[in-house]
């Protein structure tokens, strides 16, 4: 039996200033699943994401990526397995050209020469940005930069792709383009968002997080149709969005 892509068990975490963000989070994501992590601002979503690649280490509980526990001795392998696309692409893209930025991760893994080039080309092709390889990231539009940010992580051939608020600040066309890219990827995805329609469009399953714990886990249409559950977790569907239509 293959281990799940991501396994989190009873993880609790408090920041050094004493603020406790996670109170015993458990979840399991199987290989090939696309799961949305929903929750209001301050629910602990980003803190949980940083537990997954060992930037933060849990005070209690354990995290494992494809069977490998997140611990100091194999952080490098963990960070290869977990690809995080951060919210602001300007935080992620810092090299002089798009191609160099995409090469940064695999080069850190020791890849060089033709092998590295293949990775970069493949990752840029996956997000439809091959023709922009030689351009500086800051000459791209916001939507293009987010796609390149996805490519920088894909180039590391991760076990699981974590997208932090992928639809934020995107215009409708870029949002649709990104959705097409995400659905076209053959990879496990955890999408952190409070954009409920986007979660519905892309992820068959959702987790709801609030106050540092997972409060619901189920098929996305069912969760979004439960008005009381959403209200209890400070989540709201956009105006005019009919939850009854979701069941059909």
């Amino acid at each position: 039996m293959t281990p799940p892509a991501l396994e989190v068990e009873g993880v609790a975490f408090a920041y050094p200033d004493g603020h406790q963000a996670l109170f015993g989070v458990s979840l399991r994501i199987e290989r090939g699943e696309r799961v949305a992590l929903l929750g209001p601002n301050g629910a602990g979503k980003t803190t949980l994401v940083l537990q997954c690649n060992g930037v933060l280490l849990p005070g209690a509980g354990r995290v494992a990526v494809a069977g490998l526990p997140v611990a100091a001795e194999h952080l490098r392998e963990i960070r290869r397995r977990v690809g995080i696309v951060f919210q602001d692409p300007d935080d992620q893209l810092f090299m002089p050209t798009v191609a160099e930025d995409v090469a940064f991760g695999p080069a850190n893994l020791g890849l060089r020469g033709a092998e590295l080039e293949t990775r970069v080309k493949g990752a840029l092709a996956a997000v439809g940005m091959e023709e922009h390889a030689a351009r500086p990231p800051h000459h791209l539009s916001f939507g293009q930069r987010r796609r390149v940010a996805v490519a920088t992580v894909l180039a590391m051939e991760p076990e699981i792709l974590i997208l932090d608020e992928p639809s934020s600040n995107l215009d409708p066309a870029s949002r649709r383009e990104l959705a097409e890219i995400v659905t076209g990827l053959d990879i496990t995805i955890l999408m952190v968002t409070h954009d409920l329609p986007y979660a519905l469009q892309l992820c068959p399953r959702s987790l709801i997080m609030n106050g540092g714990v997972i409060t619901a886990d189920g098929p996305t249409p069912d969760l979004l149709a439960d008005a009381e559950l959403l209200a209890a977790n400070r989540l709201e569907l956009p105006f005019g969005f009919d939850p009854a239509a979701l069941r059909r």
Partner: protein, 269 residues
């Protein structure tokens, strides 16, 4: 800071592209294709030769200027563009203008003004050497993109900490300039109209906020780097080593300039 060529008013409201490459003029001339480290070394040594030339040797400066003009022509850099970019040295030349007036020693009458001969020589010395040096830099900057300049500096054994920091500065200069622009617009939209010294408080607060924001961005960038396996040193992606022939071609320029300088010293009365 980012050098804005078109002035603040020329910036589009939501610039898709920054200004940090404004100095680079794309091309395929031999100058564009030369290795950045060769160009950097050649430009630096050329400037050294110019500075070492005796100020009385007018002909030598003529040779230098013609050489640079020829290089600009090879690079496809219009002389008018070159001249316009030389304007950047004007503030530094202001100092030289006063030298003939305040200089000591023997004086001559020029247009009814009594000017110091020693001061005139000093002013000429500064103006001609400064202009040639800036012209060489302008040609270098017009034919070499900034990232390549940085790689060239790295090849010349500049500590990678310096080039990495400079690289981040170039990358985030536009982002921070954009932050400044947005914060200014937000201030002005709330009827802030700084005229007097006591209005400086809001501007100072903006600067403070900008610092904190940039600092926090730095932490997020680092986090994103660590998440992609960064372990303290930037990976070297391509080998930019220059061949002996490339070095020889590039160093021909400073060698010729050194010859001119040496000749000028040799035939000095």
């Amino acid at each position: 800071m980012v050098l804005q060529i078109g002035g603040a008013g020329a910036a589009p409201p939501n610039p898709p592209s920054g200004h940090s490459h404004a100095l680079y003029l794309p091309g395929t001339s031999p100058l564009h294709r030369a290795r950045p480290q060769c160009k950097l070394a050649a430009a630096f040594l050329f400037v050294l030769a110019v500075v070492a030339t005796p100020r009385e040797a007018f002909w030598a400066y003529g040779v230098y200027a013609l050489t640079l003009a020829a290089l600009a022509r090879v690079a496809g850099l219009p002389l008018r563009t070159l001249a316009r970019r030389l304007v950047i040295e004007l503030p530094f030349l202001l100092f030289a203008v006063f030298l003939p007036v305040v200089g000591q020693g023997q004086r001559v009458e020029v247009l009814g003004m009594s000017l110091s001969v020693e001061g005139l020589w000093a002013a000429w010395n500064i103006v001609v050497k400064g202009t040639l040096g800036v012209a060489a830099s302008v040609i270098l900057a017009a034919t070499t993109p900034v990232p390549e300049l940085l790689r060239g500096l790295e090849r010349l054994r500049l500590p990678s900490a310096f080039t990495t920091i400079a690289g981040f500065m170039v990358r985030y200069g536009d982002v921070i300039a954009d932050d400044i622009r947005r914060m200014r617009i937000a201030r002005v939209s709330r009827c802030h109209d700084p005229r007097w010294i006591w209005h400086a408080r809001a501007v100072a607060a903006t600067a403070g906020t900008l610092f904190i924001r940039s600092y926090e961005r730095g932490e997020r960038v680092y986090l994103a780097m660590v998440s992609r396996g960064y372990a303290g040193s930037m990976p070297v992606l391509e080998d930019l080593a220059a061949t002996r022939a490339q070095w020889l071609a590039a160093l021909a320029l400073p060698a010729a300039a050194a010859l001119v300088a040496a000749t000028a010293w040799g035939i000095r009365p």
